[in-house]
Symmetry: C2
Subunit: 494 residues, 2 copies
């Protein structure tokens, strides 16, 4: 589906609907839901290998379109292929199917027949690619990889910030599928705003994965909910990622913490959903000075798109104009770059206008909030909305259980003496949080459970053996973990 229009061409809504219809039908007809787990693991590994093989070519296109550094983009390709291989590992292990068998028992009320339950693919998935991860959360990123792993074909709506890269990545991925006998149309690309709207409304689309802005995500979430048959919308939107520096931590390691923050909030132009955007520091500890010292050596960065650059400057102007705001740092930057910026205020000013202060500013800016004692800190934390992460810098042995519990009320990941950027890949990772960090409480595009978003249960009652998927048959022929009569049975290979 890619490449039919030139970059930046305006496509009208009727054309977009027709193009999306063709894309969705092609994906739905690819037969992905009938593939085996072993086949899909092969597909995912083939795509991963192709990403690695084409790394230099893809990074060059990405450099040109995103202004991200080569080091960053090379790392992101590695991350992307690692994710793809991780999801292959997860579906081979098989726990994600939740295979569960109950034996018949006529003595129960009501009597129990032979019941066997597992998860099946939900259907074609729409994926909205992100601006800020042109590989890892884009055409072949986490949403696409987890949907394919689940057994769902994917229609990706490319991000307009990197159209050439999106097309080339789609070509590489589709060719890699064909290389190992898979269907190219397991991944189909569409482009343009109108195409995205049509995609969410298409009757064959069964779920949506989205990474982007709160405004855009909310609009698409509303469309998904308003469909005649509503579908789940897994959106990762905005996040402030609050950080608390305790008094003891500031006493113990002021410069170390300031240096860590300087690196984290400016990393790659601060263009991370996990950027620490709100940092509670003890009043009078001298944190502002320490942070300015640390920022002295950090350069500026051109942001992903002109629109993101303008939005950054507007957001920064808005914050610096608030009552009680102080501009603590504004780094050097040429006209095309965004300067690193630090705005400071105190907890009472924040409390007086929380809605205005608690707005994400995407880019290399963080807000320091000076708190004077624990009561002020607790009140400020109670006002927070959902975030992907919350971090606590504490002294060794300091009791931060109550603080962690308060921050854990709204954040999906709690970080201790570390920084939220650099999201590790693994079974125990979670990338979610309360609204507006995500639209769905169980959302996670990162980590093994990302696959579950694109699965739905089916229970078989007294089914003949040949109707059952192999994973539910007597004797567990594929050796996956199952629950049998309530008891978890670990995996084995027969």
């Amino acid at each position: 589906m890619s490449g039919r229009h030139t970059v930046g061409e305006v496509v009208d809504a009727t054309d977009a609907a027709a193009e999306v219809g063709a894309a969705v039908h092609a994906a739905a007809a690819a037969g992905v839901e009938r593939s085996t787990r072993a086949e899909r693991a092969r597909w995912l590994r083939s795509i991963a290998e192709a990403m690695d093989l084409h790394r230099d070519e893809l990074v060059a296109i990405g450099r040109d379109e995103t202004h991200l550094s080569e080091l960053r983009l090379v790392g992101e390709v590695v991350r992307t292929s690692t994710q793809l291989r991780f999801f292959a590992d997860v579906i081979e292990e098989g726990s994600h199917l939740e295979a569960t068998l109950d034996s018949p028992d006529g003595s129960l009320v009501p009597p129990r027949p032979d019941l066997r339950r597992m998860l099946r693919p939900i259907g074609p998935v729409a994926v909205f690619a992100a601006s800020n991860f042109p590989f890892a959360f884009s055409v072949l990123g986490n949403d696409t990889a987890s949907a394919l792993a689940a057994g769902c074909p994917v229609v990706v709506k490319a991000h307009p910030g990197h159209p050439h890269l999106s097309r080339r990545v789609a070509e590489v991925g589709r060719a890699a599928l064909v290389d190992v006998g898979g269907p190219a149309d397991a991944v189909v690309l569409v482009e343009g705003f109108e195409a995205g709207v049509a995609l969410v409304g298409h009757p064959l689309i069964a779920a949506v994965g989205f990474t982007g802005s709160t405004r855009g995500g909310r609009a698409l979430f509303d469309l998904a909910a308003a469909r005649p048959a509503p579908i789940p919308f897994y959106g990762e939107l905005g996040s402030l990622n609050p950080v608390v520096v305790t008094e003891a931590a500031a006493t113990a390691d002021l410069d170390g913490i300031a240096g860590g923050l300087a690196g984290s909030f400016t990393r790659d132009g601060g263009q991370y959903c996990t950027k620490p955007g709100l940092v509670f520091v003890p009043a009078g500890a001298g944190f502002e000075d320490a942070l300015c010292d640390a920022l002295g050596t950090i350069g500026a960065q051109r942001l992903l798109t002109d629109g993101i650059g303008s939005a950054f400057h507007e957001g920064a102007d808005r914050l610096t104009g608030l009552d009680g705001a102080e501009l603590v740092w504004r780094g050097a930057a040429d006209g095309a770059e965004a300067p690193a910026m630090v705005v400071a205020t105190d907890a009472t000013s924040l409390a007086a206008d929380a809605d205005a202060w608690l707005q994400e500013c995407f880019g290399p800016l963080t807000v320091l909030v000076r708190y004077d004692g624990r009561a002020e800190l607790d009140a400020a934390i109670a006002a927070l909305e959902g975030s992907l992460t919350a971090s606590i810098h504490h002294a060794p042995g300091e009791d931060v259980a109550a603080l962690a519990a308060a921050l854990g009320r709204t954040a999906g990941r709690l970080v201790f003496n570390g920084w939220p950027t650099g999201v590790a890949i693994g079974w125990a990772q979670h990338h979610g949080g309360g609204w507006p960090a995500t639209t769905a409480s169980v959302h996670t595009s990162v980590g093994a459970t990302a696959i579950r978003r694109f699965l739905t249960p089916v229970a078989y009652q007294d089914a003949p053996a040949e109707v059952l998927p192999p994973e539910l048959r007597d004797g567990n022929p594929l050796g996956i973990p199952r629950r049998v009569d309530g008891v978890l049975v670990p995996p084995h290979r027969s």
Copy 2:
């Protein structure tokens, strides 16, 4: 919160909002989220015991308000206490927490810190009780039991069809909580239409469980989605529960299948979400006559409320008025009762006006659809929307894999040579299906995973031991199943 108004009293919206506000704050302040799994298992078993102890008293109230039979209501109390004990077993086992630990590994890209993930309670849950299960899907039914098991306090909106029973059940449940040292306000009751609307919109409510009509459920779903911070809405709405009788099955056991259907669709006045409402039978097999023979011995039933009675008659009139409709059976009934009814048509008539034919008629009515060959059957199945169940009656050894796959596209449970009514309780049960059967693809108010609807993940990165829940600490002190570095480790008791 219960008992402040008399039955049937109209409460205005302002009063309702204030009453709901008080109810939600009481529930939120009950401390349920800080309870241990062991405590909550004790609460659930205490409530179960109290239900059993008060069975006769409660059944008498229920008889009066619902017109359901004593046998049915006694069975439903047993079902309800069994469910409560089942959820206690599930949280004691501990797999539902999805405890997952990844060791640090600096060699990965990005480097992996110490990550530990599990699920935590999502917050106060709103439960909308059902008309047709005054115990099992009402005040202390599946939604409430699974929310309490998860660690969430519950505000129940009583069903207006059984107000006295709702209040008495709430009293019994709250006393049973206190009996074992639990908080009475873990379950709070509110009443009235306006209260329900206010409940879904209350900022502290974190999720909704609903069992009821498609129209009412959709309206509340839309409210939940339109909140400033949207929340998940787990609704179980309408379901046709298609049944296919194959030609070979009709040849092998016409009378047996007809007798089973007669019992299933008229059971307790056909007032089940799993009632078989659409039955595909081979044309010319004589199924209509066999069904009429079987219905001759089945009595009529007064429906739950006058409103449900009127809606049944309207729905029946609508169906019998459709092009190609034949009224095959209308049983004897006195003025207050609903007669058993069978409407028949053929697959071509159904295809000509599918939207009109594929409407659920709640009560003792089923629609027979005569099909002439497999192509007609397949086309009709392709037109179906989501259902909680789909059933296949087949001859021994007959290959029904393709039929099962087609029906499994939209149904959450596939039943073979059996009937969908009488939903067993167990780990492998699933009670869900595509829209409009349920609003959420992972929905299940029945079965172990019902608990997961009211949990949300949190990941701990490099957390000090004392911050971690015991389930995530080194050495697995509570002996629950965990995944450690990707490997599933079965439960043990240390």
